[in-house]
Amino acid sequence: MTTSSAAPSARVDHLDLLESHAIFIIREVAAECERPVLLFSGGKDSAVLLHLAVKAFAPALIPFPVMHVDTGHNFAEVISYRDRQAANAGARIVVASVQASIDAGRVMDPGEGASRNRIQSTTLLDAINEHSFDAAFGGARRDEDKARAKERVLSFRDRFGRWDPRRQRPELWQLYQGKVNPGEHLRAFPLSDWTELDIWQYIERERIELPSIYFAHEREVVLRDGMLLAVSEWVSASGDEVAERLTVRYRTVGDAIGTGAVRSEATTVAQIIEEIAVARVSERGATRGDDRFSETAMEDRKREGYF
């Protein structure tokens, strides 16, 4: 570092640098955009994002609301967690409902037992329009997917909410350029350079509370398409499938129908970090049904306005 003559307390590790970079981005977007919003799913990445936003403006409150795009297929633990975290942060919460989009005829219901992950894009874009948000913070990371690996930290969306990977704004130095015209918006990804392991190490260091489903617990699950899906009001064993009670945890939190659990005994963050360090399957590969359809599934969804 450039501060070799400074006291040992000046030593900065990779988590400090990632944290500072993320806080810098959050403040830049808050300063340059008129009406930002923070997308909060109750998952671990959005928990880290909210934590960083609180730190960026402490001791004042965060100067933007928090929005949850609710598929209607939720884990109950996640919803109570969401409300508690927003209250702790002193943030106003906006809930955009996929069910309302279906009822209004904006999207087709994919049917009983089908994930609503893909149709969330319409609900998200409608809510962005309705509230005139010009920037939406998301917890996406570039290590998650090959299309995300190409995306800028501030990612431009046109009037139709589309991402055009061939016409991204050059993003030099730390000159995050957040101006958009009416109807357009930005997605801002302060966690772009974080890996899954960084996230967990940071959660451990900062003692960030997470929904209980991230830790090993007993749950009735059914094996479907190689994923362990929770038995719920939307999922039950059909055909040859057998529901089993297993000790599992979640590596990601999404639509309860499209998100799989993994077998795990890890009940603490430290145990989860050990598990990730030796994991051989990526978090999306292990747990997200929607990314399995084609090699460019994420790119295609992002072009339509997905997170």
Partner: protein, 422 residues
Amino acid sequence: MAQQTQVMDLLRFATVGSVDDGKSTLIGRLLVDTRQLFDDQLEAVAHASVSRGVGDLDLSFVTDGLRAEREQGITIDVAYRYAATPTRKFIIADCPGHVQYTRNMATGASTADLALVVVDATAGLKEQTRRHVCIAALLGVRRVIIAANKMDLAEWARDPYDSLVTDVTALADQLGIEQPLVVPVSALNGDNVVDPSGAAPWYDGPTVLAALEAAPAGGWAGEGKVGGRLPIQWVLRHPTGRRTYAGMVDGAALSPGDEVVLLPAGIRTTIRRVATADGDLQVAPVGRCVDVDLTDDTPAGRGDLLASAPLPEVTDHLTATVCWFGDEPLTAGQRFRVKHTTRSTIGFVEHVVSRLDVNRLVLEDGDALEANDIGVISLSTADPLVVDAYTSNRITGSFVLVDERTNATLAGGMVGEPTFAR
């Protein structure tokens, strides 16, 4: 794996090189051999390779993720990848090779500590590669590692390696960057990338990974050539009514008691406290986001800058080197929004002074810059900017020019002229 929680530092590097020299394959190899890829990601790469008829495992598919990239077999945009060894986290910007994607290459290089340049040793140093090394050097990348790739095709003969060393030594001298290490590798087979190879007994230097682990990390935001810099991002209003100033420390560390000047106003003041959400700091190092309290009620706002000596320059007229990305040429008389640190103002191009011939490394007279050209301009601004020369500090020495109507970023600018071109 037990050391995962020990202190790690962070090295950002960009990979550059000409089309087909094997850049993406080398990064794929680096990730596969350091076991950064999960089994399902490897399976997906293998599946895509077979279905497109390019062999069992085309490692370039690890980074070339967009549909058009796979169809055309080229890299269009920067792909960011991450790797970690027990002591270091790497952020890798895999940059595109084609001329028309120079803006994306500049995006990747602008934050890099180091450039990993991949060269097909059987073809030698191509113009495109010289161009990329030149752009990287212009953007302040002083350290370069050269991977002399496809040595398996050269049957590990020493001649092509030696002539490459001669060429890059001459180029580094011209550019004024550190002498590069040249590592003979086969990205395809994995020789000397992560694992040392016996194929070239005449080479006793480190592998690519060992060289990346040994390189000094950080320092890209400030080389210690200037004083402390804190561009103010945001004014924090405390419940007590007090106002403090949030931003990222740059240039040199800041501490309570430091005498600073609020610029451009030129008001002298002293730092009372340097706070973070986790408590006060006695020393706030470069790269750390902090919240600064001043000893008096100096009114400051976003876009102002706190500086400790040696002080930056306050000016509304700049001579700057720009990389032009616009489809229409850059000419005198055009106006833009200028974003410099946390300040935005209007800029007016007085003159296009010269255009850089990247192959000969000379500045030629010119009155327009075409897309992907690099040149020197003089720029007037509506409000004064607080600047350091780019060669002294990347943050206070850089700006972007933005289209006022579409908000497109049209140029990256660096305060001062290229030091190597005459």
